[in-house]
Amino acid sequence: MAEFGWYSDKVLEHYQNPRNVGEIEDADGVGMVGNPTCGDIMKITIKVQDERIEDVKFKTFGCGAAIATSSMVTELVKGRTIEEALRVTNRDVADALDGLPPIKMHCSLLAEEAIRAAIEDYRTKTNNK
């Protein structure tokens, strides 16, 4: 396994081989959180079928931890119901990556916020239909 100082092998593996990169063109929900000044922006797009996340993709401007947490959160919610996805916390994301350095915990929070934002966007759109 490649090394990089303070990160777990899991983080490095997701940095090198991120899952679900991209954007769903006709997405049912779009969530974009963060800002360039603090260093990270995450954009998550979801495709929902019968209240289940059929597909999810991410794009991220950010550090290794931001890339790894975005990748991991997409894995954790893919195929799950909306209710299940909403129960995924930043701690779950960090744990699934075998932990994050303390100053990188905000990246896992951003990942949680991004998926929640995408779900909220989906709900707003469906309620308005």
């Binding site: 490095l12 940095y15 954007e23 360039p36 991220t60 401007f61 550090c63 290794g64």
Partner: protein, 383 residues
Amino acid sequence: MKRIYMDHNATTPLREQVLEAMSPYLREAFGNASSLHFFGMQARRAVETAREQVAAALGAQPREIVFTGCGTESDNQAIKGIAFRGKGDHIITSQVEHKAVLETCQYLEKQGFRVTYLPVDEYGMVNPDDVAGAITDQTILVSVMFANNEVGTIQPIAEIGQICQERKVYFHTDAVQAVGKLPIDVNELGIDLLSLSAHKFYGPKGVGALYVRQGVKIDPLLHGGHQERGRRAATENVAGIVGLGKALELRLDELEPEAERLTALRDRLYGGIVERIDHVHLNGHPTKRLPGTLDVDFEYIEGEGIIMGLDMAGVAVSSGSACTSAELSPSHVLLAMGVEPALAQGSIRFSLGRGNTDADADYVLETLPPIVERLRAMSMLSP
């Protein structure tokens, strides 16, 4: 894996000859330089030889050199040392200083001092006219770095020194990145206090020095002993001081050819990057810049990702991005230069040194483009 070290502004490897020079003082010549017996005198002679070596490198007198524990201590000692002499309450510095200067000044503000943080131009350069314009009858010190650690821009030190001499204000320069890389003569440049650190020029960590012009009185940071003419109470780090002196002496011998070589290598590396990767920007002055320093912004992506990719390929560099700092804000240097925050996040600093070769630059030019491409494909900011 082959490892290429391109982070010499962070620290440098200890030179073999320096380690050899230090070795006796970690073994049999272990004396306290203040002791009167044989062991003490052995250590004392070694410290004084190093003092002569440092003085020679700066065009100074040996008695004007104070050994310290690091560059940060030298900066703290210079600034607080002048401030606490109580001749006035105004200090002038720049927005692009190292934190060792900036945070010392911020601390002094809390103690009631007033500090002017001078702006810089797009290249990170202070305008000497701004220095002249900021001096008042309450100004006790101007502190402007010799060369910037992130972007490498060399400040107009001679001009600032002349202004300070004319206006009778002390001039301190944090020369931690410049010593051992650029020719320096404290008298020609009108410098009153100068900070340096051994580990930036192939010496050991944990030792630095402060040049204090004869006649300039400083309040010591450390009390409790007569060492360093009462300017730094502490048992001398003899081996470290020997290493500092030796390392600097060796650097002086190779200063010009090495500066020429690294400037060429740096420019070749940048030329190759521009040729292979779009949307890149050079940070720092195009020519008035440290020989080995190359700071580049890669649009649409963030620096730590690039560092990780390069590190996995065996190349060690650094970044001014927020993600590599504890504060989560991008480099204050780049922001002061007017670089957009998002762009500043994508800055990578290559700082070249003695060990780097053309082959190293070629290897970086081979490994970097796919890393940047991969990260850009992942970023929603990419066009």
